[in-house]
Symmetry: D2
Subunit: 261 residues, 4 copies
């Protein structure tokens, strides 16, 4: 691995709906380089999408679609037994809807990252990644698919090659990893990290050395192009700020994934 000088920071934003506000988008968007924007199925609505695309673009964050299951009541977190074809249709619909708002702002979508239950389904079943990759390729080959960095790296790269699209591997800044490189389930204690300093140091090491401290003090090799951070509350935003600061102080640029992939 050659020394990495650039990394992307992504965050799920644009998840408000109607009168309902969710997340501190105004605070977190200026700190990230790629914005995953809700598209109206699990969260987000047309007005929220317009405003979020505009705000992200003003602050230099690249915009991407964050498609989810059609389950607003469950925030798209619940597994739904949708077929691959249904998933493709849902993803296409949501990408297209967001593309319109990007066009209205004079910009284009950079990436697509599935949300919640759909993301988890893909992590468990690589056919879902393949189905989604096919949609991106059919709509716009410049769209980057964001996937979970981990054990099945080569399979995912092959999917990208087959569909002639770029794949971005994602690292979760505040999640524990198992020794095999998979995420510790949220149901287990310690799945989410809260120590800001440890999180920041771990991110820098992952970027500069490709090494992550996992459970049971093991060290795993993990290469990622983009780091997922959150803006749910002031503490989360503070963590993003620290991660960003630590990266910059280590001489790492924080730039949209599309600029280096």
């Amino acid at each position: 691995m050659e020394k990495r000088r650039r990394i992307d920071l992504n965050s799920d934003v644009g998840e408000s709906f109607g009168i309902y506000k969710l997340g501190l988008d105004e605070d977190v968007i200026p700190l990230i380089s790629s914005a995953n924007i809700g598209c109206g199925f699990h969260a987000g609505d047309p007005a929220v999408m317009r405003r979020t695309v505009a705000f992200a673009t003003q602050h230099g964050a690249a915009v991407g679609a964050h498609p989810g299951f059609p389950d607003l009541m469950g925030f798209g977190r619940r597994y739904m037994d949708a077929t691959l074809e249904e998933i493709q249709d849902y993803v296409a619909y949501q990408i297209g809807a967001l593309q319109a708002f990007a066009a209205l702002q004079g910009t284009r979508l950079q990436h697509v990252k599935p949300h919640g239950g759909l993301y988890n389904m893909a992590v468990r079943n690589v056919e879902v990644w393949d189905a989604i990759a096919g949609v991106l390729a059919g709509i716009d080959r410049d769209l980057i698919l964001v996937v979970l960095a981990g054990p099945n790296r080569e399979t995912l790269k092959a999917i990208g090659r087959r569909h002639s699209i770029r794949i971005a591997f994602e690292f979760f800044a505040d999640r524990s990893y198992n020794p095999d490189g998979s995420l510790v389930s949220r149901r287990e204690p310690g799945a989410v990290l809260h120590d800001t300093r440890f999180v920041a140091e771990r991110v820098v090491r992952m970027v500069t050395e490709g090494v992550v401290t996992a459970r049971e003090r093991s060290e795993i090799r993990l290469e990622a192009d983009t780091i997922c951070v959150h803006g749910d509350n002031p503490e989360a935003v503070s963590l993003v700020r620290n991660v960003r600061k630590a990266l910059l102080e280590s001489g790492i640029e924080v730039v949209p994934m599309g600029t280096f992939l």
Copy 2:
């Protein structure tokens, strides 16, 4: 008026939803030249959109978006007191969603025609046409906006010029017109015509002479680029067949509006 040799036939299709089937799309799409496809707000869902775009494209009908109010329960027919900005957001979202399915089929959207309550709101308030035109211009200047042919022709043409988009004027094959060129309200008796032969003859005369027989036996001048027909039931489809036949027999080509506007 120079002699018109070409006309477009448009119909609202793709209005099924989930398990629910609406309209005889398989019968009517092969007879028309432009398909107005529901986009998931008043009707239609991602799977229906995909299938309808594919079917229309296979049969040589140009595809367009048919955006409506977010009111599935009311089929988008009810007036909703949405602001111009909300309308723009809804229209952008729906156009974009359908564009994705067009892209997946290797085609592009030709036109946009608002549905039901939104169409009626625009007919009553030209600011709504202007707001929608602005969305089309912002997304893709090749998109044609379909509006009601009638009294405010010059205003609508000016809107098209201001936004640098094409405007298509629409004539309703089976609706009565008032002497001022406006549509007879559906609440009045005789608003909808059922005499297939009269309808076909009236359409041909409108196309060839620019004249329509209106209420009280008056004759009005009315120029239209596209004729709206329906596929709700076998009688409606039969009417479309007759209108198409009468046009062809009169030497008029039935072609997508985008080919001659």
Copy 3:
């Protein structure tokens, strides 16, 4: 088993939505004794519910709630990873909504039968039956819970006793059964029976002898209080008519389950 002289016929009705019509309710409701009415989550809307309660009541069919998952796009057929508490909330909401329309018609709900994916989840996991039974008991102890007749009869009866509610066991007129008394999955060939005469004879024998011919020509003992029939299309309605006729000719009364349970 003493000789049974009465049986209930139930059918899923009230599954239209807005402009969308589903099922031949006007034909099938006069033939059945218990109507399972959609409650707006997987199908049905407030107007459909009002009309269906009124029509069923006029024709002497007892009314019951047919609650489903909040998935109109998937008609409630898809498994959703909802918690037991979410399921209880969804079922309570839908029962209550239908109770209002029953009250407006001067009647009360007789029973509750979960729909589609929710029913299947309960069949696979008895905790779901238990959770739903708890909701019925909390709302109105006169409500009967309709469950699938089959292998776990005693467990289901115990659930009824624990919650002090009545349980109705249901037999599917047109579905194949496995030798263990479970339903043959719809994914397997021959899962659905189409031979009207065989279906009618099998129903009569199940009612009079408690015996059902299952796969591989085995005979199984199966006791049921209510028989599920369908009104999806003219053939289905014709099958209901034949089943009803065969029952009456065998001296079996077709009456609402609440009259004999």
Copy 4:
């Protein structure tokens, strides 16, 4: 007017949805005597309804339905051109749904107060009040209908008598009134009052003297049974606390409307 010793305080609560939180229900519910609970159309979902009914009941607030238009995206604030029959169906559905959660808590609904756009439609068109009153009477004659106190008091009382239901007249604690007793439109400056002390004094005077200071320093006679207060933010809750304190200090009891109407 005899001296009033009791008044009701009502507030719109239970308007969260899924992951989205709205309003400081935990703070405001303990301060009020009647809770208007969202029923899933404009806001609220089954889980929120269950929790809100439980919380209100624990804190001694009577529970009521707060039905709205089916417009989650617009929070039920937008006018929708629904027919009187559609409105009746929507209201019945929502009342019933909430009744189920009341039954599960061992309690019953006290009242019904329409929300937002539906409330405004009723204020402008007394036929809407009449239609809703008919629904209450058909479901449960003990349900109280909450209406706006103002110019058409006698008409509304006649509606109550005709349907044999109780009518509660409502005063808005923080809204300006016109000299004719109607509310100052929110579009006008000064429509909403922010001076906590003035609001509290005005409420006490309304209760004790039946007099309200309206615009242009006029004084109007206005009798109300219940006072609407808000819990949208800490300032609003603080205002409720002051209004309640001022009432108690004036020897007025704050009790559910059902106890004295």
